[in-house]
């Protein structure tokens, strides 16, 4: 059996904020071309983990490797092949979509930047919005604009932190179709966090559930459904798994301790 190359390897990652442990000895890896759903309740440590992966939060200990290289010592090289998208951060309001993408194309040292911007706009069917300022775009269009930014450097690893939070179901549906299409075409590796379990069921090959900064369950969406809901499900039901795991954890805490 051929072993896949991990594009992202996180080993024993620890991040504390004062007395609060946000990420507690977390280890996981994402293979090339794999989409990993990274789930957990609010405050579980997902965004902190992603911020550590981006280098905007400094880890306390542990190791982060991307493409086999240590992030801390090869940051510039590695981040050129990574991109990131979160609904929390919107591209600068006063610039047009084209201007924003052109700026980011240069940040990522994309060759033929102007052509690449037009190509991405075309791929995302946003050419007609090229000259629109971000502030004039609808929420759904802004999400697509963020996604266009995330694709500008043809990333090998894409970190999506609730990219479609607060979007209506139609926008989410279109967004998911787009992500699936591009992931398939580019064989992109994706780490995807969301509170919308349907999104994860649609895109994720594997899922990691975290709570209190620790992994509490992992597997394919269907495996997890069968394992955690204790029945031979035909379809994944991550929503029920999420509720079950969160409530089970709460009961365990109330009974005096955490089980991992």
């Amino acid at each position: 059996m051929i072993k896949n190359t991990p594009v992202l390897e996180v080993s024993n990652l620890v991040k504390k904020f004062g007395g609060f442990t946000a990420v507690d000895n977390l280890s996981f890896s994402v293979d090339e071309g794999q989409v990993l759903g990274f789930l957990g309740p609010n405050g579980a440590g997902k965004s902190t983990t992603i911020n550590c992966l981006l280098g905007v939060v400094e880890k306390d200990s542990g190791e982060i490797k991307m493409f086999g290289k240590d992030l801390a010592s090869h940051r510039v090289e590695v981040m050129g092949k990574v991109n990131y998208c979160s609904a929390e951060y919107i591209l600068p309001y006063s610039l047009t979509l084209y201007e924003n993408l052109l700026v980011y194309a240069h940040y990522y040292e994309v060759k033929n930047a102007k052509n690449r911007v037009l190509e991405v706009l075309d791929d995302l069917e946003m050419t007609d919005l090229k000259s629109a300022r971000i502030r004039s775009l609808s929420l759904g269009q802004r999400a697509r604009a963020n996604f266009a930014k995330a694709l500008i450097n043809k990333p090998k690893l894409l970190l999506l932190d609730e990219p479609m939070a607060s979007m209506d179901p139609d926008v989410v549906d279109k967004g998911i179709k787009l992500i699936k299409k591009i992931q398939k075409e580019e064989k992109m590796t994706i780490l995807y966090t969301s509170h919308n379990m349907w999104e994860i069921e649609q895109v994720a090959d594997d899922v990691v559930f975290v709570n209190h900064g620790k992994i509490i369950a992992q597997g394919t969406p269907l495996e997890l459904t069968r394992q955690e809901l204790k029945f031979e499900a035909k379809e994944p039901n991550l929503r029920e798994v999420f509720i079950e795991l969160s409530r089970r954890q709460m009961v365990e805490e109330e009974n005096g301790g955490l089980s991992t």
């Binding site: 981006l54 905007v56 050129g80 990522y108």
Partner: protein, 262 residues
């Protein structure tokens, strides 16, 4: 340790601020309107006093032009950083391969380019309307300029360090700080005018040496190397302290998670 520097990434930062300047009226005003209004104000005053003394008028105009160089660079570095915060864009930028040195260096370069644009407009107005040429200061102008820019960058870097640690609430520091220093910088009057207590302290400000040096050059047509080297020496110390402070604060901000929330 390897130093990663990319002209393309610094250009990206410049491009972002180029677009921003033409999209925000206040950025455009910063570039042309405020410096020109300042020059007009002090130019009229210079016209009024030149009846008494041509030299005094030159002090005012020279002081104003050099002050604007300092103030524009000093505030621009911090304000351009603040734009990334106001736009909720800092994490997006820091998630690119852009290094911290490129980020700060880029902001400094952007502010220097902007000051040249402002300076051009001011020099033209001063020359044709007030018949004052800042170039009459000769080579010494370049030497004053070097000290002003170093101190402005020092102040800008300090402001960014404070903002990256404590966020938006301390943002106004970036435009308050240069003005808080102005009364003690002896821009429009000699240090000897200040109360004796302040006279001892202000010599620790590179700006006081620059403006005293400027007045010396206008009056005597000679260059004061004493003031130049005093300003340069202080600048080297303050610049080193400011970079260390910024590095420490930026690291702390990453450690505490504040940076990701700015």
């Amino acid at each position: 340790m390897r130093l990663d520097l990319s002209v393309t990434r610094i250009y990206a930062l410049g491009l972002r601020h180029y677009f921003l300047t033409f999209r925000h009226l206040e950025r455009f005003a910063d570039l042309f309107i405020f410096p020109i209004v300042g020059l007009l104000l002090w130019g009229f005053l210079a016209n009024y006093v030149q009846v008494q003394s041509q030299t005094l008028a030159s002090f005012f105009l020279g002081g104003m032009i050099l002050w604007i160089i300092f103030e524009r660079v000093g505030t621009s570095v911090g304000i351009d950083f603040m734009y990334e915060l106001w736009d909720r864009n800092l994490v997006n930028v820091l998630a690119t391969p852009l290094t911290t040195i490129e980020f700060i260096g880029g902001l400094v370069l952007v502010s220097i380019v902007k000051v040249f644009v402002s300076l051009f407009a001011m020099v033209v107005i001063a020359l044709f309307y007030y018949h004052f040429s800042i170039f009459s200061l000769g080579v010494s102008l370049v030497l004053f300029w070097i000290n002003l820019v170093i101190f402005a960058v020092t102040l800008g870097t300090f402001s960014i360090g404070v903002i990256s640690r404590w966020g938006h609430s301390v943002g106004p520091l970036t435009w308050v700080l240069p003005f808080a220093i102005q009364p003690f910088a002896a821009v429009f009057y000699p240090v000897s005018i200040l109360p004796s207590f302040f006279q001892k302290i202000v010599w620790f400000l590179p700006l006081a040496h620059v403006f005293e040096g400027m007045r010396y050059t206008i009056s005597t047509k000679m260059f004061s190397f004493d003031h130049f080297f005093a300003a340069l020496g202080l600048n080297i110390i303050y610049f080193a302290l400011s970079i260390s402070f910024f590095t420490f604060m930026f690291k702390r901000s990453k450690k505490s998670g504040t940076l990701a929330k700015l």
